[in-house]
Amino acid sequence: MLLSLLPFYPLISFLLIIFFKKQLSWLQTSVLSVGAMLLCTITSLVLLNALNSAPDGVITSHLWRWFSLNNGDSFASVNFAFYLDALSAVMICVVSGVGFLIHLFAAAYMKNDENFGRFMAYMNLFIVAMLILVLADNLVLLYLGWEGVGLCSFLLIGFWYQEKANVLAARKAFIVTRIGDTSMAIGLFMLFNSLGSVNILEVSDLATAQWQIGNNDAYWICLLLLGGAVGKSAQLPLQTWLPDAMAGPTPVSALIHAATMVTAGVYLIARMNALFILSPEVMNYVAWVGASTLLLAGAASLVQSDIKRVLAYSTMSQIGYMMLALGAGAWSAGIFHLMTHAFFKALLFLTAGAVIYALHHQQNIFKMGGVLKRLPFESGLFIIGLICLMALPGTSGFFSKEAIIAQLWSSPTAGQALWWCAILGALLTSIYSCRLFFIAFLGKERFSHQVENSSSKLLKIALLTLACLSLVGGFMAPELGQVFALNSSDIIPGKDPSWLHTVAIATPFIGIGFSWFYFKAYRGTDLQVFTKAEKNSSDNPVSSFCLSGLGFDRLYSILLIKPFVFIARLNRRDVVDQTLMSVTWYVGLWRDVLVFSQNGFIRWYAAAFALGLVFFIGGWIL
C-alpha cells in the first residue's frame, strides 16, 4: 500500500503548485514541495525496512491495468504496477533521499527567483517520473518514466528560457537523448516481438529459459538497450549534451545531471542484467563504452575553466566507472558506486552552487581563488566531496570504486586492459580534482566583488547531511546478491596478483602528489599565472581540443547537422510538394476562369447565352 503511494506525494504537490503557483507564497510552495519529498524519503526508508521481512525480498503493488497487447496467441497486459526489490529500493532511497536534500537546498537557493513555483513544480514532477522509472514492473511503464525524466530535464535546463544559450542547451539535451530513446524503443519492440511480454521479471525468466548465451536476438536487444542507456547516461558517443546542460540552475545540475537521471542508464542495464548476461559481447561493449568515456571525460575535465563543467565531465567519467562495472559483471559494485556518487556529486554541485552564489554568479575558476579563506564552511564541504570523488581511503567513493576496480582484472567480459583504464581514470580524477581545488580555492583572491555570505539554515542543513552521507555512505553497501543471482562473475578470489590493490589505493595519492608539484604555480600569489593559463587553454591546440569536449560537437556538426540541413534545404521544393502545388494551381486556374465569367455585366451573360446556343445547335447539327 505504501509503495503505491510513493510517486503520488510529489505528483500531488506538483499539481497543487503548478495550478496555484501565483497564489502560493514562497513558504507555502517550499513546505509543499519539500514536505512531499520528506514524505517520500520517510516512505522509502519504511519500505526499505519492510523489504527485509517481505517474502522473497520483493514488494509489489498493482494499481490498474494500463492496456493490453496482443502477442499473437494471447494478450499481454501492461499494468500500472510497481515492483520493489533490493535494487529498486536502493534507487528510491537515493532518489527520494538525495532529492529531498536538493529540494531543501533549492528552496533556499532559488528563493528570489520570480518563477520559484514553476521551478519547484518541475523538480517534483521530475521525482515522480524518476520514481516511476525505478519502480516500474514492466518496460513500458519504465519507458514512461524514462521519457518523463527526459522531459523534466528539458524543462529545467531551459528554466531561464529568456537566454538563448539555455534554450539551445535544453534542445540539444532533448534531441541527443532522443536518439538513445529511439534505440531503446526499438529494443523494447524487438523484445516484445521475440518474447511476447514486457514485464521485467517475465522477460528475464523467459530469456534465461529460451535463449542460449550468445543468442542473436539477445545481442541485438541488448545493443539497442545499451543505446538508450548511453543516451541517458551521457556516455560516448552521445555524451555531448551533458556539459551544455549545466546551463540550468545548479540544483537541477545536482539532482538531474549528477545524482539521479543520468544514472538511469546504469539502472536500466542493471535491471535487465539477465538479458545482458546472455550476450557477453554487449557486456564487453558496455565495459569499453564506460572505459573510453571515463578517460575522455577525465581528459576534458582537466582543462575546463567553468566549475560546473569540470563537475559535469567528472560526472560523465564517474558514470563511465559504473558502466565499466556493469560491463564486467560487477553489478552490485556498479549500483553501489551509483549510490555513493549520487551523494558526493550532489554535495559537490550544491557547494559549487553555494560558492557561485556567494561570488555573484561567477563560474569561471580562473576568476575565483582564495575561496577557502572567505567561505570556509562551503570550502570544507567541497573538500569532503573532492576526497570522496578521488576515492581516498575511508570515504564512500573509496569503497565503491575499489569494489569496481577489484573485479575488473579477472572478469571474463572486462580484463586487464580495462583495469589499467580504470586506474588511469582514477589518476585523472585526482589530478583534475586537485587542479580545480588549487585554482578555485587556494591562492590569492581574483574577484573584486564583496562575498555574499548566505546564512540560510536550509542550505547548511542540506549540505551537512549530504557531506555526512558522502563520508559514511561507504558503510551502507546495499545487499544486492538476491537481485543479481545470475551474476556472471566467475571471479575466483586469490587469482589476482596481490599488487593490484596496492596500486589501486595508491593511485589517488600519486595523482595528488603529482598535482601538488605540477600545479604549484596555482597555489601561489602570482596573478600572471592565471591569465596565462586561461589564455593558454584556448590557444594551445591540445587543450582547446579538450576544452571543447574533444571535438565531438564539431564532428557531429560536420557529420550530421550540416548534411541534414543541406538535405532539408534541397527538400524544400520536393516532388511531393510540387504535386500538391500543381493541384492548387489547377484549382486556382479554374477559379480565375469562373471569377472572370461572373463579372456581373448582363450583356456578357447574354452573349454567353448566345454562344452557348450556337455551340449547342452546332453540336446537334454536326
Binding site: 469562373l594 471569377v595 465569367s597 461572373q598 463579372n599 456581373g600 455585366f601 448582363i602 450583356r603 447574354a606 452573349a607 448566345a610
Partner: protein, 102 residues
C-alpha cells in the same frame, strides 16, 4: 398577288433577330437595349406571320397579336423602371448599374 417564299420571310426574321440581339449585347444604354428587345420580338412576329400565311392558318396572326400586347406591357414596365433608374442613379448605363458581380 405573288406569294413571298417562306425562306425570304425567315431570313428577314433572322436578320432582324440578330440585329436586335446584337443591339442588346453591344449597347450600354438601357433604353437602347429595350428598343433592341422590341426589334427581336418583332423579328419573331414576322416569322409567325410568314408561317401563318404559308399554312393559311390564323394562328400565326393570333400569336403576333399576343406578342404585340406582351411587347406593349414589357415596354410599359421597362420604361417605368428606366425612369426610376434615371431618378435614382442619374444614369442609364447598364454596366454602371451592375451589382451582381461574382
Amino acid at each position: 398577288m405573288t406569294a413571298i417564299p417562306l425562306e425570304h420571310v425567315l431570313i428577314l426574321a433572322c436578320i432582324l433577330f440578330y440585329i436586335g440581339f446584337f443591339g442588346v449585347v453591344v449597347r450600354k444604354n438601357t433604353l437602347f437595349m429595350l428598343m433592341s428587345l422590341e426589334v427581336m420580338l418583332n423579328a419573331v412576329g414576322v416569322a409567325f406571320i410568314g408561317a401563318g400565311s404559308v399554312w393559311q392558318q390564323a394562328d400565326g396572326q393570333v400569336m403576333f397579336i399576343l406578342i404585340l400586347t406582351l411587347a406593349a406591357a414589357e415596354v410599359a414596365v421597362g420604361l417605368a423602371l428606366l425612369i426610376r433608374l434615371q431618378q435614382r442613379f442619374k444614369s442609364l448605363d447598364i454596366d454602371c448599374l451592375s451589382q451582381s458581380k461574382g
